[in-house]
């Protein structure tokens, strides 16, 4: 189930504004998790690092291959999911909840509006 309030990149990262004001939460869509297969390793930036919309911020690795992770928004990293680094299996069990990757303080919240909404993302998946 794709959460309606989230927005997406074509590279399958999701972002929601909140839950705290002035913060955005970034994760990876269930579709991408399924495509990757067993996720065994994750590399994320540290708190305080800057991320830029459309630019790689980290790497996710399955048994088979490594893939870059792209940021849906620009801003400063204010939270990193340490538990996920230790237990990448969380991606499988709760991709839109416990498997969040970063919390970011957006530089420009308007960037959010430029991303795919849930309906558009679903349509995009159908065309893949």
């Amino acid at each position: 189930m794709i959460p309606g309030e989230a927005r997406y990149l074509e590279s399958h990262e999701w972002v929601i504004l909140g839950p705290d004001t002035g913060a955005a939460t970034i994760g990876l869509s269930e579709f991408a998790v399924e495509q990757l297969g067993d996720i065994v390793f994750l590399e994320l930036p540290a708190e305080g690092d800057e991320v830029q919309k459309g630019r790689a911020f980290g790497t996710i690795e399955s048994v088979k291959a490594a893939s870059d992770l792209y940021s849906p928004l620009s801003g400063q990293v204010i939270g990193v999911n340490q538990q996920l680094l230790d237990e990448p299996e969380l991606f499988k069990s709760d991709p839109y909840g416990a498997a969040w990757m970063l919390k970011v303080k957006p530089a420009d919240e308007k960037e959010f509006e430029t991303l795919l909404d849930a309906r558009q993302y679903q349509q995009y998946l159908k065309e893949l």
Partner: protein
């Protein structure tokens, strides 16, 4: 092959929820529902089933099949007997690999070569190109008609056995083959695989039957495994994948075949191969490898880099193509790498058990500069970051069936901790004495000892063993200049001379022969001395050339109970020639009876003898239930006019030699060897005996045995235990009639009682399962070590034993027991019946330690020895002296 191919099992993969991918033009399962990690783990703990029908299968037949295979493959195809297989490379002329492959010989006149799916067409074209020079050769592509499944993992044997209606699985040795019937259809089975699992099977099935057999194995409990886990499993086993470890490297250069460690086993320079594709280049690489192995890098340009396993020590994952550095110097590239799972374990050694939790580790294979060595650290560049890693010898070990065991980098290079130095010496001394007394009391008064290779020497024998000649030297040899008089090299040895003469007399009387050598200090040393003497004897006409080895030896295979010391891996190693055809030690084994693998099939033996004409025949076993067919062998040797030496290693049954068991020299043995402390009463030593008279040509062999004893094997021949052995020989000659009869009667009663308890006793019920001191009980595949440990906790000491169909001692499903020692402590048939029930109770997980201790408590005084009351005064004196 441009269109997408589907295997016979395509629909089944879909219905099992597989994620399909295109692989080398084939739609193949990448993984099923649970994913690669779980599939990897399931194979290591249970059993995985793989569809590998996408691989190519070419059949070669016709008169020129073997010469063709010798020419296009790197291994020695002529070495394969029917029902054997081998790993091989398809080399190109420059010493690179066109492909790697497996060659199977299921039938006398057909060879089946399995090649990689991606190289199928290329290999086929290569063969077609070369076959023009080979008339009378048929090559058939059987890939479509034969489906290939792979069943791997600790439970694979159980699952496969469960579905087989008839036929035997291959002998429990890697690369052995057989044919079985499953649900009415014939299936070819090989003990091969691509996972490193010690229990591994690959099945060749007619394509119409494949789905049925796949489903049967899945229903039996096998987990379907996709290509993802196939790759992680082979990586963990450090097996090469063409395109990664073979073929072209990251810089586009050809990887020399000898860069791959398995090339040592896959490339043969046997004279039987003649000139084969790539021979010169491979030979250059091999010479370089020999030097590199000695850390001599003068030829390194012929083999600049080699494949080595690496384990990552920092966070991250190495991937193919990643650069590897030593300092700032580029030292090579990762060829395969990922993060793989392994089962967490508890316990140590043989008690190691897989838990339900798993962990992950990042490992790889790398093509690295040949001057790098195991334990060297390197850095792997991953996305601009350098991750420290270490070169390890392996990631996985397969020699402890039924499981493959993951070996972690942090466990390999542990610092050896300094010995905890106990400062106070008196404390250490007291502790040692206390412990020794404790152990002695436990083993002598509280335990029932059923180890068939052990015996307690009598009190007198033990006391004599520590008296003065202990610690002395008495080197001596007969000199022809003095008419064969023994000349001693040290003074003060008259007593030893006398003891040795008396011991010889006593033993010759016991053995019924004319020569005995008593200076060897173990049974294994006795065998080594005989093998060495035979080599010396065979070369007696030529004292200049390199000595030739024994051309052919016939023995009992170790998995059929043969002595370790009679195997090429044991004492025979340096004395037996290599068979030029098989490139293995020239040993042929006695055939065994179909329904009793512990008995030599004498009728079939005659044909084997005629075919191989061994120079040495070694009878005798360490798992021994029957007399050996000495008389029949003597008559075959005579009929076939063979020049064979018939040797009987009686280590286990030396103390049974006589009318109740067998008399080897009367039956025609040339040489008997043995240890003196199993059924015999002695201290721990070895002897060689022979029946060659001085007029006999073979007397020269006997003289060689004497020389190989001294100075060949011993300088000081442990004079204390020699003295003890004389007492043991007196005891044996005096008490043997009653003792030998009681041992065999007790063994039979014990075996019958175990059988009556419902246990599975091996052997022939017609003879009450045994005709020796031994009893073998099957307790269930791989349960032997655990049950033996539980028996020890209940004060019953036995040893676990791999039965003939089992893969190795860690997978033992049997217990080996002997009644000799407890018979000597006066246990009778009724007492062994009581003991049988106690053993049954322990197997049924009941605790009987108290009962065992009270049983043993009734049998602490030794029989069949000279007792105190006749010699009280002199025993007193001995005690004081010591």
């Amino acid at each position: 092959m441009s269109e997408v191919n589907k295997t016979t099992l395509y629909e089944r993969h879909l219905s099992l929820g597989a994620k399909m991918v295109d692989f080398a033009g084939w739609q193949m399962p990448l993984h099923y529902k649970t994913g690669t990690v779980q599939e990897h783990l399931a194979t290591r703990k249970h059993a995985g089933l793989f569809d590998i029908s996408h691989m190519g299968r070419f059949a070669f037949s016709g008169e020129r099949a073997v010469p063709f295979l010798q020419h296009v493959l790197s291994n020695n195809a002529a070495a394969l007997d029917v029902e054997e297989s081998q790993y091989t490379i398809i080399p190109n002329s420059s010493g690179g690999a066109i492909d790697d492959a497996y060659l199977y010989r299921f039938y006398e006149d057909e060879y089946l070569l399995v090649v990689n799916a991606a190289n199928r067409q290329k290999d086929w074209n290569h063969f077609q190109q070369i076959r023009k020079d080979f008339k009378q050769l048929d090559i058939i592509d059987r890939s479509d008609e034969l489906v290939m499944l792979s069943l791997q993992g600790p439970l694979s044997r159980k699952f496969l056995t469960g579905v087989v209606d008839s036929g035997l699985l291959p002998e429990p040795i890697r690369n052995q083959l057989s044919t079985v019937t499953i649900n009415g259809v014939g299936v070819l089975v090989g003990r091969t695989g691509y996972t490193g699992e010690p229990l591994c099977f690959e099945l060749f099935i007619n394509s119409k039957d494949a789905l049925m057999i796949w489903d049967l194995l899945i229903d039996a409990g096998a987990t379907p495994i996709g290509l993802g886990a196939r790759d992680t499993l082979r990586l963990e086993a450090a097996m090469p994948l063409f395109g990664c470890e073979l073929g072209l490297d990251a810089e586009g250069n050809e990887i020399p075949v000898f860069a791959e460690p398995l090339a040592k086993y896959a490339v043969s320079f046997s004279g039987l191969k003649g000139d084969f594709v790539g021979k010169n280049a491979l030979s250059r690489q091999f010479k370089a490898l020999e030097k590199i192995t000695d850390r001599d890098y003068s030829l390194i340009k012929d083999l600049p880099r080699r494949i080595m396993p690496v384990a990552l020590m920092g966070k991250g994952i190495a991937r193919p193509g990643n650069k590897v550095f030593v300092g700032d110097k580029l030292a090579g590239y990762i060829t395969s790498g990922t993060m793989i799972p392994y089962w967490e374990t508890e316990g140590e050694g043989l008690s190691t058990r897989f838990l339900d939790e798993h962990a992950m580790r990042a490992i790889g294979l790398a093509l690295l500069d040949s001057d790098l060595c195991e334990a060297d650290t390197v850095e792997i560049e991953v996305r601009g970051r350098k991750i420290p890693a270490v070169i390890v010898p392996y990631h996985l070990r397969s020699e402890a069936p039924p499981c493959a065991r993951a070996i972690l980098e942090q466990d390999l290079f542990k610092d050896i901790s300094a010995p905890t130095a106990e400062k106070v010496t008196t404390k250490k001394v007291r502790r040692l004495l206390d412990k020794a007394i404790q152990n002695h009391t436990w083993r002598q008064r509280e335990c029932i000892n059923l180890i068939p290779s052990e015996q307690t020497p009598s009190a007198m024998t033990r006391m004599l063993s520590v008296l003065d000649p202990v610690g002395r030297y008495a080197e001596h040899k007969p000199m022809k200049a003095f008419l064969e008089m023994e000349v001693f090299f040290y003074q003060g040895t008259d007593f030893i001379l006398e003891v040795e003469e008396l011991l010889k007399d006593e033993l010759l009387r016991y053995l019924g022969c004319c020569e005995v050598e008593t200076r060897l200090i173990s049974g294994q040393m006795a065998n080594t001395a005989v093998f060495s003497a035979l080599v010396d004897y065979l070369n007696r006409a030529d004292r200049k050339a390199e000595q030739r080895r024994i051309r052919r030896v016939m023995n009992n295979h170790i998995i059929k109970g043969g002595h370790l010391s009679a195997q090429p891996m044991g004492a025979l190693r340096d004395f037996v020639a290599r068979d030029p055809k098989t490139e293995k030690p020239a040993v042929v084994n006695f055939p065994v009876v179909g329904d009793n693998p512990y008995k030599i099939d004498t009728a079939a033996t005659q044909d084997v003898l005629a075919r191989y004409r061994p120079e040495l025949i070694i009878l005798g076993k360490s798992v021994t239930l029957h007399p050996e067919p000495v008389a029949q062998l003597r008559s075959f040797v005579r009929q076939l006019d063979l020049n064979s030496v018939i040797m009987y290693d009686m280590a286990h049954v030396l103390g049974l030699l006589g009318s109740y068991f067998q008399q080897p020299f009367e039956e025609g043995a040339d040489i008997v060897t043995g240890s003196t402390h199993k059924t015999f009463f002695g201290t721990q030593r070895g002897i060689v005996a022979a029946n060659y008279s001085r007029e006999d040509l073979r007397y020269q062999l006997w003289e060689a045995v004497n020389r190989r004893a001294f100075p060949g094997s011993v300088s000081n021949h442990h004079l204390g235990t020699l003295l003890g052995l004389l007492m043991a020989a007196y005891e044996m000659n005096y008490f043997k009639d009653e003792y030998q009869k009681n041992v065999i009667d007790n063994a039979k009663a014990f075996a019958m009682a175990l059988h009556d308890c419902g246990l599975d006793v091996a052997g022939d019920k017609e003879v009450s399962f045994t005709e020796t001191h031994q009893v073998i009980v099957n307790v269930g595949y791989s349960k032997g070590p655990e049950i033996a440990r539980r028996l020890e906790e209940n004060n019953i000491i036995v040893n676990y034993q791999a039965a003939p169909q089992e893969e190795g001692f860690t997978a033992s499903g049997a217990l080996r027991m002997g009644v000799a020692e407890m018979t000597r402590f006066a246990m009778k048939k009724e007492d062994f019946k009581t003991l049988a029930q106690l053993i049954y109770d322990v197997i049924a997980e009941r605790t009987v330690k108290e009962k065992v201790m009270s049983l043993r408590g009734r049998f602490v005084d030794m029989k069949y020895c000279f007792t105190k009351k006749d010699f009280a005064h002199i025993i007193e004196k001995l005690h004081k002296l010591i």
